[in-house]
């Protein structure tokens, strides 16, 4: 028990001293997670809107596939992306393996289905009369889409927050595609795993506290937006 208390107190001291290594790891984590969340929004929100609003071919099958992808293990994505970006593969020339870009690609693949499915579900909950009202008031297709997105805004924001929460805490993709290179691709989760292997728990506990704080903030935000969307 004293081990845990000592580690916790040392971790708090480390955080209070704004340790450079700690700041660096947190910065890398936030950078890749925010980037992948941004990319997932850019693709997932319009995709969710299109699937929800239009009668695309094989709509039910696409939704089933997206729901299946929600349960995709991070190591499977790691392997899959590795097969495309490793030295001798199709995108090997771009030299992406063990870079932050590789982590961002993998994490984006992980959360695009999350953003897409949650957006789809948020838009499905929106009353169909909004579309009809926008059209009869003379709106074009883009203006009508914006009306629907604005009405579904809280549900969509909740999907983005949930996606960010998923990537900030994942380890498989960061480890397999980033390689846990210090100062470059070392994220909070990969650093924690390494510190654990080395038996040095102070940094691991400090990172754990930060990760939990971020997760708590994300969940408070998620709860807020989910509450707003059901108003």
């Amino acid at each position: 028990m004293s081990f845990l208390t000592d580690s916790f107190l040392s971790a708090l001291k480390l955080m209070a001293s704004l340790d450079a290594a700690l700041i660096e790891i947190v910065t890398v984590s936030l950078k890749v997670s925010v980037s992948s969340t941004f990319i997932a929004c850019f693709i997932g929100v319009p995709a969710g809107f299109v699937i929800s609003t239009y009668n695309i071919p094989f709509k039910r099958s696409v939704i089933t596939l997206l729901n299946t992808l929600l349960a995709l293990p991070t190591v499977v994505i790691g392997l899959f992306v590795y097969a495309f970006i490793s030295r001798n593969s199709i995108f090997g020339t771009y030299d992406l393996l063990y870079t932050q870009q590789a982590i961002i690609i993998g994490q984006s693949i992980l959360i695009i289905p999350i953003v897409c499915v949650f957006t789809l579900s948020a838009i499905n909950r929106i009353d169909k009369r909004y579309r009809k009202t926008a059209l009869t008031l003379g709106a074009n297709q883009v203006q009508t889409a914006l009306v629907i997105l604005v009405e579904a805004r809280f549900g969509i924001i909740a999907s983005v927050v949930a996606a960010f929460g998923r990537v900030i805490s994942e380890i498989g993709i960061s480890m397999m595609l980033g390689g846990n290179i210090r100062g470059f691709t070392r994220t909070m989760t990969t650093a924690m795993a390494l510190q654990y292997d080395k038996g040095e728990f102070v940094l691991a506990v400090a990172l754990g506290i930060i990760l939990l704080s971020i997760s708590l903030s994300v969940n408070i935000l998620l709860n807020y937006f989910q509450g707003k969307s059901s108003e």
Partner: protein, 337 residues
């Protein structure tokens, strides 16, 4: 000037014909009412007139130009006609922004917008609500704002789908007055659905009656469904429920839909002995109203029956609200639909 011209317009849903109009012209600057039972095709008709729904076949002309149902062209047309739904929905923002939406898409300059919004709100007597949150309005207020939002767009035609349904009397009369004012001030063509015939007659003489998706010249009222039963070989009845039998002509169907002409329902003096009157029903007067030079009474005999009578007949029976009356039906007044 002819605003809409419809020729052989049909609309099918999963093989069922919901609208079948052989020919109809709608002239601009008039108020039209659409009436008929539920499922008669009124809302489908309004959706086609508002260019939100494409007919399955036929030719629709708007201001003498055939309507092409492609999205880009339709958007231009939709900027000239606005439909207000039966249960309108307001965007979850302020009243001001709701009304501003139609003006924004029409690229009305910012400076002009506020004046137009205030003028539209003034017309529906809701000027004090300009900054109110649209989500917190009552049903009647929502409809008035929805009408203001439509009017602000200065449409050539305003289509209203049952604008007074589910509203209390005060709100109904307010909406009626708004319709009158809009027509008087803006001379906009107004087409609206209603089940209230008194309201229709108060607002216009141009009524289009729908039944089973078609336009009928004869107005059918008191429409009921029931089973055909025969008491004697030549006496047939429509059994509406366990207690009510309405005399009808013979037919080969088992399940029938009938209409009862409101002027051919007899009110029987309760004080008189009426041994010769068979199948009469006691009921209660639930509604009384003037309709042009006649009196309309709604009598609840277990089903609500609308009776139309001359003023002299009304004076004779001295009907008052909640009075008990006895009525009976004549076979000549019923039509099998």
């Amino acid at each position: 000037m002819i605003l809409y011209s419809l020729k052989n317009i049909k609309k099918y849903y999963t093989g069922r014909t919901v609208l079948d109009i052989s020919e109809l012209d709608i002239h601009s600057g008039n108020i039209y009412t659409l009436s008929g039972p539920n499922g008669a095709g009124k809302t489908t008709f309004l959706n086609i007139l508002s260019f939100l729904l494409m007919p399955s076949s036929g030719r629709l002309e708007f201001l003498d130009i055939p309507v092409k149902f492609n999205e880009k062209y339709l958007q231009q047309l939709r900027q000239t006609v606005v439909l207000v739904n039966q249960h309108p929905i307001l965007f979850s923002t302020s009243v001001y922004k709701n009304i501003e939406f139609g003006l924004k898409v029409r690229k009305i300059p910012l400076k002009k917008r506020k004046k137009m919004i205030e003028s539209a709100l003034d017309l529906v007597d809701m000027k004090g609500f300009i900054n109110a949150d649209a989500r917190h309005l009552s049903g009647g207020e929502t409809r008035r704002i929805a009408i203001a939002r439509a009017i602000a767009c200065s449409p050539g035609a305003l289509l209203l789908d049952e604008p007074t349904a589910d509203l209390d009397l005060e709100s109904r009369l307010t909406i009626e007055n708004i319709i009158r004012q809009i027509h008087a001030q803006k001379n906009i063509t107004i087409i609206f659905c209603t089940h209230d015939l008194s309201q229709a007659s108060r607002l216009t003489s141009k009524n289009i009656y729908f039944l089973n998706g078609q336009i009928h010249d004869i107005y059918h009222e008191n429409i009921f469904k029931g089973d055909l039963v025969a008491s004697k070989p030549d006496e047939f009845y429509c059994k509406i429920n366990e207690k009510i039998l309405i005399p009808v002509q013979s037919t080969d169907k088992d399940k029938i839909k009938i209409s009862i002409h409101p002027e051919k329902i007899n009110i029987i003096d309760c004080k008189k002995k009426d041994s010769d009157v068979s199948l009469s029903y006691m009921g209660c007067v639930t509604h009384l109203g003037m309709e042009k030079d006649k009196i309309r009474a709604v009598i609840d005999i277990g089903i609500s029956v609308s009776v139309l009578m001359e003023k002299s007949e009304y004076d004779l029976h001295m009907l008052r609200l909640n009075d008990s009356v006895k009525i009976n039906f004549d076979v000549s007044g019923t039509t099998i639909l």
